[in-house]
Amino acid sequence: MSTAAPAPALQLVGIEKSFPGVKALQDVSITLGVGEVVGLIGENGAGKSTLMRILSGVYQPDAGNIRLHGEDTVLRNAQDAARRGIAMVFQEQSLLPNLTVGQNIYLGAEAQFSRMGIVQWSRLYAAAARQLAKVQVDVDPSTITGDLDFATRQMVELAKAMTLEEAGEGHLVILLDEPTSVLEQADIDILFARVRALKARASFVFVSHRLDEVLALSDRVYVMKDGGVVAELPAAEADTRQLHQLMVGRDRHSEYYREAQQRPFGEKVLLETRGLCAGAHYRDVDLTLHVGEVLGIAGVIGSGRESLCRTLFGFEQPTAGEILLDGAPARIAGPADAVAAGIGYVPRERRNEGLVLFLSVAANMTLASLRRVMRHGMIDHAAEARLAGEWVERLHIRTPSIRALCLNLSGGNQQKIVLAKWMNAHARIIILDHPTRGLDVGAKEEVYDLVRSMSAQGLGVLLIADTLEETIGLCHSIMVMRDGRVTRRFDAPSGAKPRQVDLVEHMV
């Protein structure tokens, strides 16, 4: 029997997963050998997180098999996955800040340390200390978790994962989801050293946006794109340039993004930032947005671009630097100030921040500009209805009536209402945060048309797009951010657009 190769720790065969309107994963097959570290890379939306959620039991695949140590397995939920020795070390940590380290490590598993209903903390802490020793972290298990720094909490998270060794079937599969994105280099080195040391008792799937780290830690790398695996290669033979190329794949269609309608933008500066900083989110951002300009910000999660946009709309306050509107320094203390200054914001969380779902179409459209439909201090419902009717017609919004709740409309129609809200408020600057997220192809094209027409009307548009293609296709100028800093700026005039790979090089 000793001659047979050991079964892989984990094998995914032909995994498929769809969500309403989106095919998130198609025919994904991945193998993780015993004691191996496999890297998983891909652009935002390539399907990495969906895959991780399937592996940790949070989602169920629509088709395909999961094999653990050669046996077909169904992971019903997160606890089930944990019982079978699959642990996930999240980027957003799963530790409760108000409990001690030891209590967190054994949360939900205290029964083994209690006698007649009384938990014996000394035994639990001794066991927790053993788990901490496995990952070589020097923390007293009775420390309050919230008092630890981020890097140490990450190691505690790893120690918590190691408890599954005793609870379950021995060899573990540990999923590391962006564990390094907020760590300093020294801490990353420590984490990697621990992971390597643990390879004898566990296999790892390592998801990261930082390609050099993936290459440094992994034995093999899988590249994902549009819900599928497009390449699998040994880390030793790969370089970051090659990975960039694989991640971006096919090139854009100029037609799709209405490139022919792209006109040069104006001279007048609408919005400017000088040396803008926000704590650890981003640093020294200089940005200039002109009349009629569509300015794209490219970057991965953690690049600071979302935070930058939220600062410009007043959700967050900068820690240094200044914001200028029409050349004059402005203070944006909250969204109300931003709206008063003529800024509109189309958030990524459309159903949470974009629309009041339980309010009518008409009321949502006038929410940021109610004054326009008020006469003598009273809302003129007839005027509001007329205005809403005009927008419904102009933007081809499909809704049973302007009094219908936004709740029941499709994503595309909801997004058009959000845009109508800002155009109705005569916003001069529009911040678009993932404006096409979750929309079908037709709805996306309508949004692109709207972006073009806003630009033609002289509005300044700041765009965080879903994909690089979208960024390149729609924007006049592109600013690339990495780890909170602007790494490169591109001009993207019609007919002389930068390539995706040029952008990716400065993103990761």
């Binding site: 931003a338 949470n352 009041v356 779902l357 929410l367 940021a368 201090g377």
Partner: protein
């Protein structure tokens, strides 16, 4: 018929069914005199409930209303001699000030509304006890001359009913025709989106608290007139029925859904149930229990669970 229409119609249907039921057992229930009496009994409850409707629409709660109403009654009793009719607007102002205090504690200090208003209610009760020296202050013969606008009748209609109708009209206008009305609906239905649309959420929450306080002040003034006295415990049994009236009327405690009209229907339901129980010789003491149970059932039926991922 979808769930929302059902939710809208149910209170009215309940009211009609209740009236029919009680009338079937006790035909004298439906004569005009009884009904008018019931309407004037409802007035105070409705005024209190309408005020708190504004806060509940925003997803908050006001537990201070009974103490604020009692404080207002004390204010009326103490001020009517020196100030005459002016005592009544002062009482409303006192209520609004208490509401402002709740609003500041809730919005500026970020204290959950139920605890902020519980605390302000305690303060108001303490002030009332202090001012009245824990006594009921009975209005004298002269002072009673000032309460005719509350206790009298015009064209056979009790003035309390007329006051309630005026309040209803004001409440409707505020809710449907002012920016505050629209914004409070938006905030209750989706606070993050309202915030992101540039609405000054804190300001409108504070206004709602003040309206609730002012309404409680008016309710206290009406009670003072009606009972010809002011006392620090005058409105003590009214918190639960008032909140029950709002919720039974179909306003959801999750916010966003509701109106002053619904509160009117809810207040009438409460009154009908109360008089019905009296007619049917149900022990008067068990009525609180019935209202408590009605409250919980109504919440269960009107609450929108999709809006609260974790119910605490």
């Amino acid at each position: 018929m979808n769930r929302d229409t059902l939710r809208q119609l149910m209170p009215i249907v309940t009211l009609v069914v209740l009236v029919v039921l009680v009338a079937a057992f006790q035909p004298s229930f439906v004569n005009p005199a009884t009904l008018l009496g019931m309407a004037s009994d409802t007035a105070t409850l409705f005024v209190l409930g309408m005020g708190v409707t504004f806060v509940i629409m925003l997803g908050g709660i006001d537990l201070s209303i009974q103490s604020v109403a009692s404080l207002a009654s004390v204010a009326v009793a103490l001020l009517i001699t020196p100030l005459g009719y002016l005592a009544f607007p002062v009482a409303v102002l006192v209520g609004a000030l208490a509401g402002l205090l709740s609003g500041i504690a809730h919005v500026q200090l970020k204290i959950p509304s139920f605890i902020a208003t519980l605390a302000v209610g305690g303060v108001a009760a303490g002030v009332a006890l202090l001012l009245a020296d824990a006594q009921a202050i009975t209005l004298g013969e002269v002072e009673r001359g000032y309460v005719g606008w509350i206790t009298g009748t015009s064209l056979g209609i009790p003035h309390e009913v007329l006051i309630a109708l005026v309040v209803l009209a004001l409440g409707t206008v505020v809710q449907h025709y002012t920016a505050f009305g629209r914004y409070s609906q938006a905030i209750g239905a989706g606070e993050p989106a309202a915030h992101a649309a540039g609405i000054r959420v804190g300001l409108h929450k504070t206004i709602a608290c003040m309206l609730s306080g002012a309404a409680a002040g008016l309710a206290g003034a009406i009670l003072a007139g009606r009972l010809a006295s002011g006392s620090p415990t005058l409105a003590d049994q009214l918190l639960l029925p008032a909140i029950a009236a709002v919720i039974v009327g179909g306003t959801a405690i999750t916010g966003g859904v509701g109106s002053v009209w619904r509160t009117l229907v809810g207040a009438l339901i409460i009154t009908v149930v109360r008089s019905g129980m009296t007619f049917l010789n149900v022990d008067i003491f068990i009525q609180q229990s019935v209202f408590g149970a009605m409250l919980v059932i109504a919440v269960a039926l009107t609450i929108d669970r999709s809006k609260i991922p974790i119910v605490k």
